[in-house]
């Protein structure tokens, strides 16, 4: 579907209603190379002659297939994925992208969340995508094309997951697939069940190699996409290196090389990928994010060297490559003046904190225009500018419970504070109270909140502790809430 999606995204398709096919040449014939959903529903299939398709569907829209443009667009998509999701991404022609998710899925909240995030972003861009995560490139390739729209195979389950898939999933030449089908093989499971030597004798080593690659028995390194305009520094070692000090020394050299290139182009790095290729052809990626564009070698070296413990050198590292995956313009600017002291630069602190605890864990809390307390605060990136504060009409607690906790109370309806409350098994007599502060539900968000009301009270108990409690409902009308009491926060 990629060529169709690409054409639709380019935006020269006036309407989605007219069935669309792409035509290419096979020898001297014009054949259908791709068809949109509407065309498929009308019975058109890739591979049939264009003249036949036009005869079947009168107002068919035929576009010329452009494999080169498809490939270039696929590379752009792969680059976009690399900048956002993982350091090692490659194009899997004709219509796929392969991502090495080793060590990156936890940054996106787990494998499932990562796939969902990718799927969501692609769907929003108008790309129909099928995703699979598996132990090997071959297995993921097969499952993405012939399995569920979003499938995750646990480590070790690869064989069971692959067995029911058809032979076309194995990335074999069509002639080989045809030959195997002639012999009666229909699924990968059929191939697994027979002795291997006769297969090799009949079809060459290709079949067994693809089978082993899919099962993960034979390694298949992913050669990461590195477009020419990406700033990259690379070192190849005559002797494999492994000691932490040696790695640190070469990180320093790579960073200096990279910074020189960045400076020549007037760029600063926002995201750095260090890939250590080991002698056993496995890659150890390290990704470092920066809050602001940067090309200060000392700071970049420090951020990368903090991550050396996560690199497993195995039997030694042969190649180290450092890439500024995301780079932004960075003009030299004046940092200090004699007239006024320079504002301290927070980005270095934020970078080191972010790379220690993760980007989501470093934030500022910014106001949201909402009266509902738990919605009045939003996390924003730590370098963002916050214009205004919260309205200061009523005192607010310093601690807010994650969700309001139900309490037992005795209170006069409709608008009196309770006489006592029982919270977490402890009784608090109310000595003084302030309220109610009525907060209405946000009817524009959810239908359930159309009539919802909360009456907040600030109470002080006999020991002087102050709590923020509320009653669900206005005390008279049961449609406004259940009239249960909750404790929502603790004042200092």
């Amino acid at each position: 579907m990629w060529p169709i999606d690409r054409l639709r995204r380019v935006g020269d398709t006036p309407s989605d209603s007219a069935p669309l096919i792409l035509s290419g040449r096979a020898g001297s014939r014009r054949v259908v190379t791709a068809a949109c959903d509407g065309a498929l529903a009308l019975g058109l299939r890739p591979g049939m002659p264009v003249s036949k398709a036009q005869a079947m569907v009168p107002d068919l829209r035929v576009e010329r297939a452009d494999p080169d443009a498809d490939m270039a667009a696929l590379e752009r998509l792969a680059l976009w994925l690399m900048q956002r999701f993982a350091p090692i991404v490659a194009v899997d022609p004709p219509d796929g992208v392969v991502i090495d998710a080793t060590g990156t899925d936890h940054l996106h909240g787990g494998e499932d969340a990562m796939l969902q995030a990718i799927l969501g972003r692609l769907t929003l861009s108008g790309i129909v995508a099928r995703l699979a995560m598996a132990d090997s490139w071959g297995a993921a390739h097969a499952l993405a094309r012939h399995g569920a729209a979003l499938s995750i195979v646990a480590p070790g389950d690869t064989q069971a997951a692959l067995a029911p898939l058809p032979l076309t999933a194995l990335r074999l030449p069509p002639a080989t697939v045809g030959g195997l089908q002639d012999l009666g093989f229909a699924t990968i499971g059929d191939l697994l069940a027979v002795p291997r030597a006769p297969l090799t004798r009949r079809f060459g080593p290709q079949v067994i190699r693809r089978l082993d690659q899919a099962l993960g028995a034979v390694g298949e390194p992913i050669d990461p996409l590195r477009p020419d305009d990406l700033v990259t520094a690379r070192r190849v070692f005559a002797e494999p290196i492994g000691a932490a000090e040696t790695i640190a020394r070469y990180i320093d050299k790579l960073v200096r090389d990279l910074c020189r290139q960045l400076e020549a182009r007037g760029l600063g790095a926002r995201r750095l990928d260090l890939i250590c290729w080991r002698v056993d052809n496995r890659a150890q990626p390290v990704r470092v994010g920066l809050a602001a564009p940067l090309r200060d070698p000392a700071r970049l070296v420090r951020l990368l060297c903090d991550r050396i413990p996560t690199i497993d050198p195995g039997f030694g590292i042969e190649i180290m490559s450092l890439t500024a995956t995301l780079a932004e313009p960075l003009a030299p600017r004046q940092t200090a003046s004699l007239l006024e002291p320079a504002a301290p630069d927070m980005s270095s602190l934020i970078d080191s904190l972010t790379n220690r605890v993760g980007a989501r864990a470093v934030y500022r809390l910014a106001p949201v225009a909402s009266d509902v307390p738990e919605r009045s605060v939003v996390r924003v990136p730590p370098l963002s500018v916050i214009a205004a504060g919260w309205p200061d009409h009523w005192p607010r607690p310093s601690r807010l419970l994650a969700r309001p906790e139900p309490i037992d109370t005795m209170a006069l309806l409709p608008d009196h504070p309770p006489r006592w409350i029982v919270w977490r098994g402890g009784r608090h007599d109310v000595e003084g109270a302030d309220g109610p502060e009525r907060i209405f539900g946000e009817w524009w968000k959810r239908d359930a909140e159309t009539r919802a009301v909360r009456d907040y009270f600030r109470i002080e108990d006999q020991a002087g502790r102050r709590f923020w409690i509320f009653r669900q409902g206005d005390g008279e009308d049961m449609t406004t809430g259940s009239h249960n009491w909750f404790l929502h926060g603790v004042f200092g």
Partner: protein, 222 residues
């Protein structure tokens, strides 16, 4: 040195105020050892009166930013860090103290060993950033640890007191008992004060403020 602006309090501190570029400890008492609500406001009040950015490291994200803003700490001055465990909270606090561009670093931690506190104190001394260890324990029994020695310059305990009744229904300004439990080169004392106002300043209750200065607080040792 940062004075509290209350002569009653400042004249009993060794340098006439809170020493800057040091580590200080603050905790609540009773149920406040768990929620640390008053201690958070006390720490926010100190940080609010220092110029610059504040780093606040937590393991439990239950701070309510509008409440902090009412203690004087505006949202554009706080960078929050939510670390997974106490070890990384300590590491983040040290990172913040070493950076040197911050006004104060507040970290909510339970266990604070002598070694860790000395490390934090040295980091604070080298950069001149003030560190506040806001001690919080999930269980009241763990709070006994607050008696253990640390390298902190001062150790405060802030507990809520019943506030003075108003002539009309409602609640006035909250009242705290601020105890200085330990101070290097200083004497311990305790004092009833009114909670932080919108600029982070403590206040004196009316009955204390009206007394002659020599009489001191109700709980003064001398």
């Amino acid at each position: 040195m940062l004075p509290f602006g209350l002569p009653e309090l400042d004249r009993r501190l060794p340098q006439g105020g809170l020493a800057l570029g040091c580590l200080h400890e603050v905790a609540g008492s009773g149920a406040g050892t768990d929620d640390g609500a008053a201690a958070a406001c006390f720490a926010a009040g100190i940080a609010a009166r220092l110029p610059g950015q504040v780093l606040w490291c937590v393991t439990r994200a239950d701070l309510f930013a509008p409440g902090l803003a009412q203690s004087g700490l505006a949202p554009d001055r706080v960078i929050h860090v939510e670390a997974g465990d106490e070890t990384s909270v300590l590491a983040c606090m040290e990172e913040g103290l070493r950076h040197g561009g911050l006004a104060a670093v507040v970290a909510e931690i339970g266990r604070l060993s002598m070694t860790a506190s000395r490390r934090l104190h040295l980091a604070a001394k080298n950069s001149g950033t003030t560190g506040i260890a806001l001690r919080r324990w999930r269980w009241l029994a763990d709070a006994d640890e607050f008696g253990q020695p640390t390298a902190a310059m001062t150790r405060w305990r802030v507990s809520e007191r019943p506030s003075a009744a108003l002539p009309v229904p409602g609640l006035g300004r909250a009242l705290w008992l601020v105890e200085l439990m330990r101070a290097r080169a200083g004497e311990t004392f305790d004092l009833e004060v009114e909670a932080c106002d919108g600029t982070g300043h403590l206040g004196l209750p009316a009955d204390v403020a009206d007394r002659p200065a020599a009489a001191g607080g109700r709980y003064a040792f001398g």
